[in-house]
Symmetry: C2
Subunit: 344 residues, 2 copies
């Protein structure tokens, strides 16, 4: 028996999750880790905090496509770990891996689960956490979402909500590299300054200061060709109002709606017909996707050459993960939210 | 000067248009018809009644993509006429043409406007009105919308709202020809009986009897792959709830929303992300479209062989056009709404 600190799920959530009621950090948790054939044991280093996790807390019926957490078990998500025991000959002890791991110190990874060995992880110029950020799911979501669904053309204007978030900051910078005019919104003046000064967005506004549509019109006076939607609700309404004919809405998240039982509804979908708008929603791109190799090549090059930068909001310590998660749901993170569980 | 009876537009509309206030039939309207080079004069035979015309009554700003009617002038729309005078050598007197004409007895068609000569119009086995129905804009909307945006595959299930309307009845029958399971909804038991007995839909329900989602689940217990949306609002909500992963929403009209100032909003767009739904809206297919030749060939053949039938709701007399239009907005028409202005 070893002690395996973890964040445990306890109860279905209807509004914001409450620490101690719906989920909680447990410092004393005795487990045994006897590996079966094909399994590995990881010492966990980083775990990602993503909005979609909130959906797994809802307890909708079993067909819900986000899936559901299990009472009494750790939450889980995209994570980085070090292999410390292995009954899988393809994944030796000592490797650093990306996989789907618990919010816990150690995880047993079942045989057959997707595990990616991060090559040269100890020597890379890029931080390990990049593998669950800019070079991981959020980065691939940004890249694939923008290219496949947004179909961007140089000279077009893109509007991005939650633009300083894990996905939004990358979409904006990638769109700049591709020659688009980039407009973003976020919820604090500090974030807006970051978008303008560090990420070189062409325009940005704090959506909490005044009417979203008015701000969007001022920031993109000629209209927008693409709306990259990380929020839904009122942001989507404003974007639909201001999007140009044949515009594309890439719907990647609806964080504004996911936390409320009775979201207000989008009242102007009727503008879609005369403007011939496409609304293209996707959950996550499969890592076997055709864009994957291109993504890794492009983004690594852009990162190393400084064409794109990536801001992370790293919370230290598993015991702080519940509050980091709540903070992310409320937009308090500044950059990609990640929890560091242990040093390499 | 000749008398040219017409239906005249008078005032912007906020709710349902009122006859005598917003538009009205005028029996005595003196006009002169002196043709300039390139113009033709038509004696009008049939004019189409379409939901989108309501949008031209709203008086939104000049950038509104539906366009706007002009005070004191006749309404206009897709129509059939006989050429009775011509200063266009390509369009001789005596031809029957499809074009965009006024709700009036005679129209002067400007040089350069799209005019299509209906070949063998007097000998065709199909009624003239088909050119503004099954072989015209509604037919092409159904065919192109289903094929291009719906991407139907044999064995899939499609749900169609306003299924006995101008477009819906054709989408359903075309989908049957293509091997889909077809479910429709409409607003009267008479229409439902027609869908089931005459058009051979696999299932159909009266959306006024009970909750739409409950009815849809009963009619399509395995879920739906395609939703062909002619209505918007609560129908769209129910369809999004019940559509299968990677489902396609073909958005072709939002008649449920177009007539109200404060439509209720679609409250469940957040289901689009986990289910990776595409919502594809289009206004009207250009007659120069790649699908046009295929459309005319397929649909003519299907009509003549009885594979599809087409129900029209023809109102006799221009003086009855205003009430026919209102009836269509309220779903009182049964089949494609058309006004017959004169005999050939």
């Amino acid at each position: 028996m070893v002690n395996n600190k973890a964040v445990i799920f306890n109860k279905w959530v209807t509004d914001y999750p409450v620490i101690g009621e719906h989920f909680e950090y447990v410092a004393n948790r005795e487990v045994t880790h006897e590996l079966k054939e094909g399994e590995i044991l990881t010492r966990n280093l980083y775990v990602s905090m993503d909005p979609y996790l909130r959906a797994k807390m809802r307890g909708l019926d079993e067909t819900d496509l986000f899936g559901r957490f299990t009472f009494g078990q750790p939450l889980d998500n995209h994570a980085i770990g070090e292999v410390i025991a292995s009954k899988n000959p393809n994944i030796p002890v000592g490797e650093i891996v990306y996989s789907f791991l618990g919010w816990e110190e150690y995880s047993v990874v079942p045989a057959g689960q997707y595990v990616e060995i991060i090559k040269n992880a100890r020597e890379s110029k890029l931080p390990l956490s990049a593998r669950i950020g800019v070079l991981g799911m959020p980065g691939f979501t940004a890249y694939g979402g923008l290219l496949r669904y947004g179909k961007p053309k140089a000279g077009e204007t893109i509007y991005i909500s939650a633009a300083s978030g894990a996905v939004g900051q990358l979409v904006g910078q990638m769109a700049k590299v591709l020659g688009l005019r980039v407009v973003g919104s976020a919820g604090s003046d500090e974030k807006i300054a970051y978008l303008l000064n560090e990420l070189k967005f062409d325009a940005a506004f704090n959506y909490k200061n005044g009417d979203i549509l008015t701000s969007l019109k001022a920031a993109a006076p000629e209209g927008i060709h693409i709306y990259f939607d990380n929020v839904g609700g009122r942001h989507l309404e404003a974007a639909l109002e201001w999007i140009l004919p044949r515009g594309r809405v890439v719907m990647c998240g609806q964080i504004g709606d996911i936390n409320t039982q009775n979201p207000p509804g989008v009242r102007n979908l009727f503008v879609c017909v005369p403007k011939e708008i496409s609304i293209l929603a996707f959950l996550v791109l499969n890592f076997e996707d055709e864009y994957k190799a291109e993504f890794e090549k492009d983004v690594t090059e852009w990162l190393l050459s400084g064409k794109i930068v990536y801001k992370e909001d790293v919370t230290e310590g598993l015991e702080n993960a519940p509050s980091a998660f709540l903070g992310m749901l409320q937009g308090k993170n500044f950059g990609k939210a990640t929890v560091k569980i242990a040093d390499l």
